[in-house]
Symmetry: none
Subunit: 190 residues, 4 copies
């Protein structure tokens, strides 16, 4: 990795941590450069604007998440266990010291409606996640019809999102457990 990429990535990492911890609008460029130990103009030679940093942050976070949840689910035995794993994944996720909810949900509350770039980015991130869930359903529920797979996938996605958000809001793990309970009922009941 060359010098430029290293600096660039250091900036993204710093910005990610700060944005995720404090929120996009509450973190100024000055805090980012101070934490990164770089000059302001250096930051702006790597990113055209603060908004571009936000996009990079959303990318970084989502790629890491997808990688981790894929690994987590793969480690479970195939079948219902892999579907339940999607929600179980949230338990260690929630327990991380720096857990602060969903970056997409939090970011979308911080940018104006007109900001198409950011909102498109967030939607495509969520779309990628839904695609992952759908494929997981297809792999583990091959016996279901396409429409039923789609429906189950949507339900699983919804339970994931609700559990993620509420565990953050309540500062407690019970929403994750509740989601898991609902899913298990669903899977066994049919």
């Amino acid at each position: 990795m060359n010098v430029k990429s290293e600096t660039r990535h250091k900036i993204i990492r710093t910005a990610s941590d700060l944005f995720y911890e404090k929120g996009y609008n509450l973190i100024g460029i000055n805090e980012i450069i101070e934490e990164s130990g770089i000059a302001k103009a250096t930051l702006y030679s790597h990113f055209r604007s603060k908004e571009e940093l936000l996009l990079a942050y959303l990318d970084e976070k989502d790629q890491e998440l997808l990688k981790n949840i894929r690994a987590f689910c793969s480690s479970k035995s195939t079948g219902d266990a892999q579907l339940i794993a999607v929600l179980e994944f949230l338990i260690p996720f929630f327990e991380q010291e720096d857990f602060n909810g969903c970056w997409c949900i939090r970011s979308i509350a911080e940018v104006p409606r007109e900001n198409v770039k950011v909102r498109t980015k967030i939607k495509s991130n969520k779309q990628a996640f839904r695609q992952f869930v759908l494929e997981l359903v297809q792999s583990n529920k091959p016996e279901l019809g396409e429409s039923q797979q789609q429906q189950l996938s949507n339900q699983l996605y919804l339970l994931y999102e609700g559990a993620l958000m509420e565990s953050h809001l309540q500062g407690a793990a019970w929403p994750i457990e509740t989601s898991i309970g609902l899913l298990k009922d669903k899977l066994q009941g049919k």
Copy 2:
């Protein structure tokens, strides 16, 4: 209602509309006073700070919501229908022209973690809503034990929150339908 209260409420209404539409940090005091047609110092004679306005906005919104959803559920026949109504309520809610998701979720992303006042307010709002759901379950599912009532109530609350957030994020009603589907399965399956 005296003059003071009238002015005060006009400010709250204006601020509520603007905060909900654009977001707390993206609306400045100037926009609020301009829209309200009052002087800056008048605003500060009614509210000590912008934060106090935020608290009033969260209060206003939640009181209205609780009133509406209570009325909506009461209009349904007792039993499962009233529980399902909690989620069905979201359909006209989502279809409102100015629908912009959950004010609590959006606001919590905009204030720093240290802001105890706002975060406490939001939690107590959500707590009140959970209490409403719990009481609705208790009324309509008297045959269940307390623990089962609590559990069902949590599930219903979770489905409500997930559907609300996701219908906003996706800009579509399907998450509401999916939630309703999940609930119906649950109610019938047992």
Copy 3:
């Protein structure tokens, strides 16, 4: 004059002096507020942008100029003397300690071509000056036909502008004398 207008005018005066002495792009907002002894936000409550200050400066300068040159020419006996006075006016003007050429010419070099507002302002200022010269010619040369008045007016304007600019560029009064000489030849030769 109320408080607001006083502050406003103090800002314009300060900005005018600084812009005229150093140039628009070389003077920062910070220098203007420091010299004015006001806060930055105060300036921005009176002027939306630095560009608006530039427009006010161009206005201020031109109004003063027109007032002064009108008074100067009126003080001369009617006839050729009033026309020659247009150029003679430049002598004390040039000798002013803070003389720094034509603010319009200098400003137009400092704003991008796309800046329609400023360029329109400058053109309309110059147009007003040409109108003044034309009316002076009409008053003092009523025997000439309209077309000849127009032509003479253009020539006088051109000599004025050339003398003003070159006396500044050369740092000497000879261009003014040369212009006066040319005009006198012209007036006597016919």
Copy 4:
């Protein structure tokens, strides 16, 4: 021409075009290197500072102008025609697509008074032009005394400068025609 000079001249050409079109302060070093296709440090190995580029630009422009106007005037028959040619030269000059007035006048508005180097350069450019005009007068008006030659030369210079500036400011050719008219009157009237 060796490699170094080639690069150097490419930079000057690019900078000249950009400075003349947009203005010295409105063009950044980055635009120059991007347009030139060279690296930033390469530019700084050829020119100590942006100011040195400005000096080279003023040089380049003036040398080209003197060469062109000399050729233009030489092409006319000797006598008054060559003097009038000085002003007639402005017509095709004005009509050039990239015409943007006098680089000296525009540049002097962009550098601080203290900048002796640039101001000296501009004055010496203008002095060289005045010398050219004087020699043209001496060649074509040998019958005049030295003082009268000097005076006529100054008048011609003034008309040239006024016409150049005003044709730019007004975006019209009439100031050139007016100048020519004044000059012809002058030459014929005596």
